[in-house]
Amino acid sequence: MSNLNWTEIFGQAMDAAGVLIETQPATADHLSAWQIADRHWQKLAEVAMTHRLRWSAGWAEQGPEQFSVYVLFEKQGEYLQVRTSIDLNRAELPSQATVYPAANRSERHTQDMFGIKFAEHPDNRPWTRHKAWDKHQYPLRKAFAVQGQPEAITPPDLDYAFVKSHGAGTYEIPVGPIHAGIIEPGHFRFQAVGELILNLEERFGYTHKGIEKIAEGRTPESLARLAGRVSGDTTVGHAWAACKAMEQAANISIPPRAALLRGILAERERVANHLGDIGAICNDVAFTFAQIQFSRLREDWLRTQANIFGHRLLMDCIIPGGVKHDIGEADCDAFKADNVRLRKELSDIITTLDLNSSLEDRLYTAGFLSEDIAAAFGTLGYVGRASGQDFDVRRDAPYPPYDKVTVKVALENQGDIASRFWIRYKEIMASMKLIEQFMALLQAGEIATAWQIPAAGSSGLGIIDGWRGEIVSYVAFGSDNKISRFYPRDPSQLNWPALEKLVLNNIVPDFPVCNKSLNGSYSGNDL
């Protein structure tokens, strides 16, 4: 009710600002869709900001005669998707990044991939493009061949204009793309004085694999597989979001049993990742006891998944229309046994950690992210929830099976690494409860709905809560069941900028643990 109100009130405010809104048929629950003229693009952002809407995602798409540019806002669990159209030959639009810092990298990505210029953008450097394609080529334009015209050896991108520091005693530390550990590639540029971090700049795009481009022309099954590899640790989350979008486009709904199984898969994925992260955070402050214990618990958890779903990380378990594997009584018993065991283990280990003063010393107050900054960047998932951002798609814009249960959202507001540690622990406990509730609701029935070929030009927007937070997946179909556009927005895209802020005034040696506490996906960011 109150939800409906804000779109209405916001619409009136837009009217008052002289913006004509064309309302479009919504394709999903909790979602309204508007179309506005391109010249009002920035005004939209300004009014949205005064109404405290959260900027969630932005993307573009090429039609036969024009580019469509989209933005997604959210407030109180109600989403608003606004579209504008611009001429193919005059690809320019006022920037929203002047109003919303969260839009900054997204617009630069759209600029690099489509050649759409965002006027007055506060940062005109490229983002996703390094040297694999020319400045005046745009991979996501239809005329650009998927093979491109790469050089035999793509040179490194040496032209990126990093912020420079001046002054006595300041120095720079360039780190990456290849890091010391077993982690994904990306570049960090620090300015420091002594041990203190004065500034950090991220430079990503190294793992750009052309996911959006190679999605084009795929079948729904093939897109689900690709989506499951946007970020390997979120294979369930991205496959679900993409399938949800495709199912909207095809106008089919999945059977209740399939929804519950998806819920079980997603919550198991959340637990597996949080277990890994908690251990890794402790490891980064040299507390190996926890690392060993948590990596053991994670391994136990993954082995059950391998036994039941045939894949340790649960890849390809979600398919368009439903899920691939059914589960039986014995499998439910195995999940229950996992929960019993994990609760018991955690009660041992967590009390040990809680009493450990050296851990406390390193994790409390370090890597502080204020509520204001978290809100300004639209920070998501456990990073946002550790800094007072009380939002969770599962509770606020519930989709099956979360509409059948009460989702309790863990919240902390200290904003430090310890908060991000504890929130993960709380989420593990909550996920186990959800898994049990989902199992209790299981009734015999189908696990997939037969696929319907979507009409050419139909599209869908899948919004779900992955283990890192809200995932947004846009899918549009061309003719013959073929994908014409796929854009996945991983929560990392909004969380990464927060790292640049939360490391400030920390010491350089604490960077790894700060980074781990956020644990963004590089692959999910670079696409």
Binding site: G148, P150, I178, Y206, T207, G210
Partner: protein, 169 residues
């Protein structure tokens, strides 16, 4: 402290026995070895893992090699922070074009004799991403590869078998 030691003691040793694989087993796992590691290295192999553009799934399983079930260090296989300290490069992902130079430089920085293991379907043949304007595809399109371990991602057990297979003889 007392709780901590109690937990360590009650957990006990969970490390599992693992046998050096036979050729038939390696073949069955789809593991291809072009060149074995010198006998002289057995008991101490330094690995530098390089993500050349993976989806991070392969990294999760490489990480698992260090958990107490697999504890790969007991075979003298350990991960190092610099290619200059490495005998083996463990490369994952299709090589993104934006990582091509970085991978080449890492290869050059690794002292001879050196071996390259391509881990995962992407590294072995391009996988789900293949070759495109953004991706060079298989690792062997960029640097010479001595062994491929398929899988999406390969399980820690398969990774372990592969690495042990590379060392044997």
């Amino acid at each position: 402290m007392f709780r901590l030691f109690t937990k360590i003691l009650s957990t006990g040793i969970v490390t599992e026995r693992i046998k050096a694989p036979k050729d038939a087993e390696l073949e069955q796992l789809g593991i291809e070895i072009k060149r074995h590691i010198d006998r002289r290295f057995s008991g101490s192999i330094a690995i530098r893992a390089v993500d050349a553009g993976s989806c991070n799934g392969c990294e999760l399983e490489i990480h698992a090699l260090n958990n107490p079930y697999y504890d790969i260090e007991r075979f003298g296989i350990h991960f190092v922070a610099s290619p200059r300290h490495a005998d083996v490069l463990l490369v994952t992902g299709p090589v993104s074009r934006h990582m091509q130079t970085a991978l080449l430089r890492t290869y050059q920085a690794t002292p001879n004799p050196k071996w390259v293991v391509a881990v995962g379907d992407c590294a072995a043949c391009g996988g789900e991403f293949g070759e495109s304007y953004a991706s060079c595809g298989a690792v062997s399109n960029v640097i010479p590869v001595d062994m491929t371990i398929p899988g999406c991602p390969p399980t820690p057990e398969v990774l372990m078998k592969g690495l042990l297979g590379l060392m044997k003889r």
